[in-house]
């Protein structure tokens, strides 16, 4: 059933289109020439060494990791209780509150970055780190509300009520009954929000400062003046990290949970 040569051909071409460019990056990362070329001449791992020894890239990688984890954790702290309240109780204006929480996805990233830059950096004069944290918190929150929210909505709350009648306090029941039952949703939301924050460009572009840049932004500014395989090498390492993350998700929740 459902076998059609035309469709199969298009599907094959689409996957080639999606993967050949990435394979090209992998190949060029091993070239010995100072500029990226294809086909490559020779074989070297120097570009990997150069990337790993670069202070700029390593410190921006650490900052990206740190901001990603912190901002997502902050979004979880704010977002999990909120999505519980929205799913559990009859809240007036529920749809409005929910779309308010999702509003960072409606406003273009570049606009979020620009207005935040004007407000936090120029007007309030907050340090760069705090600015980046707030910006990344904003873009992470909708993922938490959406993914954790849908687990919360599917939860059977009679369990929680049983715990209440047995004398469990509300907070204890929430921690002991509700949270463990939505843990896979929380994990999936964390992964999605973290990857999204780690990969984000427009918000980081505006909020980065001298010496404090996120990895994608420092890659961008490096590419402005250089065209060498260092970028290829970094790309390959990041793709390996992505694969590792996907493998981790597949082994724990199954990839369908974040698709």
């Amino acid at each position: 059933m459902r076998k059609q040569k035309g469709m199969t051909l298009i599907a094959i071409l689409v996957f080639l289109f999606l993967f050949l460019p990435l394979c090209l990056i992998v190949v060029t990362s091993f070239g010995t020439a100072a500029a990226i070329q294809f086909p490559i001449k020779g074989f070297t791992l120097d570009w990997y060494a150069k990337a790993l020894q670069s202070d700029t890239f390593m410190s921006s990688f650490k900052l990206s990791l740190g901001i990603g984890v912190l901002a997502t954790a902050l979004a979880l702290v704010v977002g999990i209780p909120a999505s519980y309240a929205l799913a559990r109780y009859s809240v007036k204006g529920r749809n409005f509150i929910k779309s308010f929480f999702l509003s960072p996805t409606v406003i273009p990233g570049i606009v979020v970055g620009y207005t935040l830059f004007q407000y936090i950096v120029i007007k309030l004069g907050l340090p760069i780190f705090q600015g980046l944290l707030i910006g990344h918190f904003l873009i992470s929150l909708p993922y938490i509300i959406r993914v954790v929210g849908s687990s919360m909505e599917q939860l059977d709350y009679s369990m929680e009520e049983v715990a209440w009648t047995l004398g469990c306090t509300k907070i204890r029941a929430f921690i002991r009954i509700v949270l463990p039952n939505v843990s896979s949703g929380i994990f999936a939301a964390f992964m999605l929000a973290f990857v999204n924050s780690f990969n984000n460009v427009p918000v980081s572009m505006f909020l980065s400062g001298p010496g404090v840049t996120m990895l994608p932004t420092s890659l961008l500014s490096y590419m402005e003046y250089n065209y060498d395989p260092t970028v290829s090498a970094i790309s390959v390492m990041l793709m390996l990290l992505t694969m590792g993350l996907m493998f981790l998700i597949e082994k724990t929740l199954g990839l369908a949970s974040i698709a």
Partner: protein, 303 residues
């Protein structure tokens, strides 16, 4: 002894009633307290910055004015960027639909194991940084890139072509960026189309292609609309890809905004662009939402 127990039970009972009344009373306000921190943070760091940036473009000393926006649309250079952004977004959405539907249909039809692999292969580019994905196309389209090297070597051209920093480059880079989104959205829809319906169509004499056209395509319209909103607004607001593949020669609204704000320090113009981008995004979202609802109603009426 017995009496004592009864007494205790009664006590317990009143206590639990009390607790329940208290909790009913709390139910009214507690959820608002729980959602408040998030709402306050969003208000302070999303809404207020947005309003303080955009207010000056609408309110001046003379009161409400739209002159900033009228002037923006009077300028031919601005207009060319505006229309390029819309045009590129439309073309990218169209290509994503044309390539996405057959691919999603194919993925939904293969065995469970292969479906998992193909879904992972669709997800992988989505989780890969947009800088990397645009960088891939610099390697392909650049002056010393794969295409030019290949064509020069076999002698088709004797001068490298300008493929990079063109609208074509932005389009192909954006399709590359957003096609996986379209496929992911559509696979879910395609999986819900029951195989029996197709079999029925084919038993009744429809060729596989006719069955696809008459059964699958109409049923996948709502999913296609959802995917189109994501692809269109994504392309409209993407920054990395137009920056790397279009450069300063072929600007899109987002790169234009960045240039105005950061390089030129023209905040008035940047804020005007910001509001235009928000309004266009909202119009597309609302507009296609209305279309999707109409399609749904028609489906319901036909059923």
């Amino acid at each position: 002894m017995k009496k004592h127990i009864e007494f205790d039970l009664e006590n317990e009972y009143t206590e639990s009633v009390e607790r329940r009344t208290r909790s009913v009373y709390m139910n009214k306000n507690v959820p608002y307290f729980i959602v408040a921190p998030g709402m306050i943070l969003l208000l302070f760091f999303l809404m207020i910055p947005l309003i303080t940036s955009i207010m000056p473009t609408i309110f001046s000393d003379q009161g409400v004015t739209f002159s900033n926006y009228l002037e923006f649309f009077k300028d031919e250079y601005n207009l060319s960027i505006f229309w390029r952004t819309i045009r590129v977004s439309l073309i990218v959405t169209f290509i994503s639909i044309v390539l996405g539907i057959p691919t999603a249909y194919y993925i939904a039809g293969v065995g469970k194991k292969w479906r998992g692999i193909l879904m992972a292969m669709t997800l992988f580019p989505l989780l890969t940084n947009s800088v990397i994905r645009s960088f891939a196309w610099i390697n392909i389209l650049g002056k010393t890139g794969v295409i030019n090297t290949l064509l020069l070597n076999i002698g088709v051209i004797d001068q490298p072509m300008n493929l990079l920093y063109t609208e074509f480059a932005i389009i192909i880079g954006s399709v590359y960026l957003f096609l996986p989104t379209m496929i992911m959205t559509l696979v879910g829809v395609m999986e819900n189309i029951e195989g029996e319906m197709l079999e029925a169509a084919e038993t009744l004499g429809a060729s596989p292609f006719t069955a696809f056209r008459k059964v699958v395509l109409p049923l996948s319209i709502p999913g296609t609309i959802v995917g189109s909103v994501l692809v269109f607004t994504g392309t409209l607001t993407a920054y990395t890809t137009p920056q790397l593949l279009g450069g300063n020669q072929k600007m899109m609204m987002s790169t234009f905004l960045y240039q105005k704000a950061n390089t030129l320090g023209d905040w008035q113009a940047a804020s005007v662009l910001a509001l235009i981008m928000i309004v266009v995004t909202l119009i597309v979202m609302k507009g296609l939402d209305v279309v999707a609802k109409k399609v749904d109603r028609r489906e319901a009426n036909n059923a």
